[in-house]
Amino acid sequence: MRILIANSSPDPIYDQIVRQVRAQIIAGDLHEGEPLPSIRKLALDLQISVITTKRAYDELEAEGFIDTVAGKGTFVAAQNAEFLREKRMKAVEEKMAAAVDEARLMGLGYPKLSEMLRLLCEEGS
């Protein structure tokens, strides 16, 4: 599991951890059942406070991404394929919404926007 903390970022540190772990699970870099470091080990490795890692893990657990088994540790939770797909769709949707907001500020309408999207998709393949 790879976590990089940007100290100067305005985003709360626990939030950075949550997003990175979440992204890795969704992308499949972290597999179901894979063990995660304990909150204390993570805090020591990242040189941050234990309560910060605890908050991150609590949120990930609330969202259903990880499970903590008493006495055994923390593991990546079994991910529902449908649930994961939905999450990924939501991520794409959010990015699109951001692009639409920016476009609106500039006065770009749907026709120009969809043209840009088409070009980008063709670029990819």
Partner: protein, 291 residues
């Protein structure tokens, strides 16, 4: 449950000539580091003395590991490693003699642990206490405090007098101690960067009262410093403003709700994560204002 807390203070009061500690309440759950911060003379040392029962509190309750700190004071103190800001050792005696004479008071004392720490800290055991530098004296007190498997480490200004290298080392060592989730640490300091680095809970003592006590993410993520024109800052919800000041270049305000500040002011002001010393300065200003 009481035993889940290393430390609990409820409504603690103490009156001295010319100084008063009033209605002090805060807690430290087991397995975390709590920091007591505040200007000199605000009451940090007094709070620590009351917890150790060096001074008797006049009202309220102090529980350590769920035990009453006065009724069960011997049981409580056998589990506390204590580092005071005034070295109370025998000037004309060697460190080794101190170990021999004092270690046995602790049920879980270990000479091996002490000797190991002494060599790690570079302490000359055959030298007399008075020949040590200020930093060495603190290291000795630390070695004593860490050699009896204390569940709670209480330290009053432990980093004062330490060189920056050892200070960093000490803070890392403290964090490493907490790998054992049964251990807890409380330390008081006026050096804000120490707390910013390691504290899980931050308690701000001001004029004998607790100005706030919260987990670090509440302070650093939910609170914010807002910088901008005084006119713009006036639009902030006053219920969230904890302190403010005018500067030549504009105004600054400390708010307890960063999100609402961003919504209210948008791009017309800078909303930043607070630094602990900014928090202290702005809250001091507020206290002086109210006085």
């Amino acid at each position: 449950m009481s035993a889940d807390y290393a430390l609990e203070l409820h409504g603690v009061c103490k009156r001295y000539r010319g100084f008063r500690l009033d209605d002090v309440s805060f807690s430290l759950p087991r397995g975390y580091i709590g920091g007591l911060i505040g200007p000199n003379g605000s009451g940090k040392t007094t709070i620590i003395k009351l917890i150790m029962n060096l001074a008797r509190h006049e009202a309220g309750e102090i529980r350590v590991f769920g035990l009453d700190n006065r009724r069960d004071e011997v049981a409580v103190r056998s589990r506390i490693g204590f580092v005071y800001d005034v070295p109370g050792f025998w000037d004309d005696q060697t460190l080794a003699l101190h170990r021999r004479a004092l270690g046995t008071f602790y049920p879980r004392w270990s000479d091996e642990t002490f000797n190991r720490l002494a060599s790690e800290f570079g302490l000359p055991l055959d030298r007399k206490f008075k020949t040590l530098s200020a930093g060495m004296k603190t290291k000795f007190a630390l070695a004593m405090a860490l050699s009896h498997e204390a569940d709670l480490l209480i330290m009053d200004e432990p980093t004062a007098g330490l060189d920056p290298v050892f200070r960093r080392e000490l803070l890392q060592r403290l964090s490493a101690l907490l790998q054992d989730e049964g251990k807890s640490i409380l330390f008081s300091t006026h050096i804000t960067s120490d707390l910013e680095r390691v504290a899980d809970f931050i308690t701000f003592v001001q004029n004998g009262r607790i100005a706030f006590s919260m987990p670090r993410h509440d302070l650093f993520d939910a609170w914010a410093i807002v910088k901008g024109d005084a006119a713009v800052l006036a639009r902030l919800d006053p219920a969230t403003v904890r302190g403010a000041r005018q500067r030549g270049t504009g105004a600054e305000a400390l708010v307890s709700d960063a999100a609402s500040a961003r919504r209210a002011l948008g791009a017309s002001a800078l909303v930043e994560r607070p630094r602990l010393d900014d928090v202290m300065v702005l809250m001091e200003g507020e206290a002086a204002h109210a006085a």
